[in-house]
Amino acid sequence: MRTLFFLLEKEFRQIMRNKGIVRLLIIAPVIQLILLPLAADYSVKNISIAVVDNDHSTASQRLIGKITSSGYFKLTGYTGSYTAALSMVEQEKADLALQIPAHFEKDLVRENSQKLYVAINAIEGTKANLGGAYLSSIITDFNDQLRVDWHTTGTATTSDAPQITVAASNWYNPYMDFHLYIVPAILVTLVTTLAAMQTAFNIVQEKESGTIEQINVTPLKKHIFIIGKLVPFLVLGIILFTLGLLVGWLFYGIVPVGSFWVLYISLVDYLFAMLGLGLLLATYSTTQMQAMSLSFFFINIFNMMSGAFTAVDSMPGWARAIVQTFPPSHFIRIMRMVVLKGSGLSDILYDLGAMALIGLVLNGWAILNYRKTA
């Protein structure tokens, strides 16, 4: 235990001495956490629409008015030719094109039914999905209004069909604030990068400079050495996380609904797993370049697949199974549940257990692989 003290003293001295690294480790993530949520806004509100109005009737004008005043759409083109509108979609000047056919109003009255044509740029699937959904609900609304209005003016027949409406309410985030969703996830990705990569680097640096040889001939126990390497990054991770929560509160007004204890218990569990990964990568690397390549590989895949920016739920089963082995996917879930919904320990037992299990496997593997005696 005494040797551990000396080891930790040395590690902290080395980390603190390198001002540039400390700055990168703490300040860069904090700045990113302040700025990036602004960039990660997926609340769909600026869907650009090109309207092809071949009808020029009161009805078509009313529909266009309804669409532009909805707040979701931005009218970026108003032409008479469908090809022109399509080419606007092609040029990315419009996300979707709506065609109101000629004689729309007249035929609607005459034939009692009319079609509208909507072409959506579906490369960005989410936007397409949401855009299409919004537009169709606006059209349905419009349809209902039309029915009521024309009914009162006596142009159409009455209908006795029943009307079922949906009253939707949004829990946990009633104003649909996207920041509430994304800030916890960005915080997790930042902690991930710090924990896994720095641990790997730090150990590999000792390998590269040869000091690890010196340590290996001392009576220092393997596990003490490893603990000495992990603890500083555990502490740094906790500091960064705490700063991150502060940033979330100061800049985005996010106050965790759940208990801080639950958050920090999960954080330590998570860091245990990620530090284990860093350790494991270090045992497989002999140069810093390798450590970087390996950690970049994993961190990049974690960032993209752990549900921070993409939905795990819509992945196929096999992919969901793979994602289960990624510690960040569990921690991101926990963060969102605890911060937004106030979930308690009993709600997150599965994720906590999964992270602990992954942590045990990674650390165990790393210790087996890290040998003092070749």
């Binding site: 399509l86 579906a122 949401l130 029915r147 029943p162 990049n300 739920d313 979930s343």
Partner: protein
């Protein structure tokens, strides 16, 4: 010239000797394309929901079976009380709860109107919006169907057509995004670290006192990374054609040209980083901590740029991958030609020249 070739050969040896670095160089793009291509999707399916039916009449039964048969939803269970509902939300078991009030049938029969209560877990706002929309549409369809049988008038039926990506797959969006992301980060990191490593080892000094011109040192450092990146590019294109059925619709030549331009730009950024970094660790941290997330977010493939606050939109203009992403989408997915991407190409050219000149100049000063 001879010197240069010798030197370039040495650089290649450095790169190819190190299998683990190769894993990142080639393994990462492959793994990402395959994983992301298959796994990431924007279509929200199988959302777990709970249904509570206090009315239990013919209409609610019909509606429930309609919901159950759609593949958007996965009915988990029937929740009886509000506390149970809250618990299910907190555990993350369900995304949405649908409640048919007790007087649902009664209202429908007597007033012709009834309301379904829908509670969405908005901790994921997009998911909440999307599945609420699904339900609204489903109920709307149901209304229309009953209306049609009852002879409902004045039907406006929107006909939706999804262009370029009719099945709403994730791949068409992610492949260009991953291309931009991987090429940019790999180029930047490889270059900066390779140069700083020579600085750290002191071998750079040896090169600098040799009659070898600084520009040659730079060229020989960049060549292997350039070639590797081009190979990577073709691997990505091949994989997406074979596995994801995403073919280059436009001109491959144009795509390659713009890609090389983009790669050169990224290499120049790496060069600039290496001039400012003293240790490998600093270079790596600079490119990882400093660049990974901003590149991911400001390229525009995860989040729409037009939603960002103005300063960030302006900032995103400085990210080369943003322009490259647009080029790839236009050329690869839409099959457009140079007339559609000349502006982006020009911007990339400008960036590339600017960065390369600056780093060249700074590099000389340091000698």
């Amino acid at each position: 010239m001879r010197q240069l070739i010798t030197f370039i050969r040495k650089e290649f040896l450095h790169v190819f000797r190190d299998r683990k670095t190769l894993l990142m160089l080639f393994g990462l793009p492959i793994a990402q394309i395959v994983l992301f291509g298959f796994a990431l999707s924007n279509e929200i399916k199988n959302s777990r929901i709970a249904i509570t039916d206090y009315s239990k009449d013919a209409v609610t039964e019909q509606l429930i079976s309609k919901i159950a048969s759609s593949n958007y939803f996965d009915i988990q269970r029937t929740v009886q009380s509000a506390t149970q509902l809250e618990a299910a939300f907190k555990k993350g078991d369900i995304r949405m709860a649908i409640i048919f009030p007790a007087d649902f049938a009664n209202d429908l029969v007597h007033t012709g109107k009834a309301t379904i209560q829908v509670i969405a877990d908005a901790s994921d706002p997009n998911l909440a919006t999307t599945i609420t929309n699904y339900i609204t549409r489903l109920v709307g369809d149901f209304n229309t169907q009953t209306a049609l049988t009852a002879g409902r008038p004045l039907q406006i039926l929107p006909e939706m057509q999804f262009l370029y990506n009719p099945e709403l797959r994730g791949a068409p969006n992610f492949v260009p995004g991953v291309m931009a992301l991987v090429l940019m980060l790999v180029c930047t990191m490889m270059t900066s670290v390779a140069i700083v490593k020579e600085k750290e080892l002191g071998t750079m000094e040896i090169l600098l006192v040799s009659p070898f011109k600084p520009i040659y040192i730079i060229i020989s450092k960049l060549t292997p990374n350039l070639l590797i990146s081009v190979v990577n590019l073709f691997i990505i294109l091949m994989l997406s054609a074979v596995f994801l059925d995403l073919h280059v619709k436009g001109s491959i030549l144009l795509l390659t040209f713009d890609s090389i331009l983009f790669i050169l730009t990224s290499l120049s950024i790496g060069l600039l980083l290496s001039i400012n970094a003293k240790t490998q660790q600093a270079a790596m941290m600079g490119s990882m901590m400093g660049m990974m997330l901003p590149t991911m977010l400001l390229t525009g493939f995860l989040f729409p740029i037009e939603n960002m606050p103005l300063p960030l939109q302006v900032l995103s203009n400085l990210v080369p991958s943003r322009w490259y992403f647009i080029i790839v989408k236009k050329v690869m997915l839409k099959g457009l030609g140079i007339t559609a991407v000349w502006k982006e190409t020009l911007i990339l050219t400008g960036m590339c020249l600017f960065l390369f000149t600056i780093s060249l100049r700074r590099f000389k000063i340091r000698l």
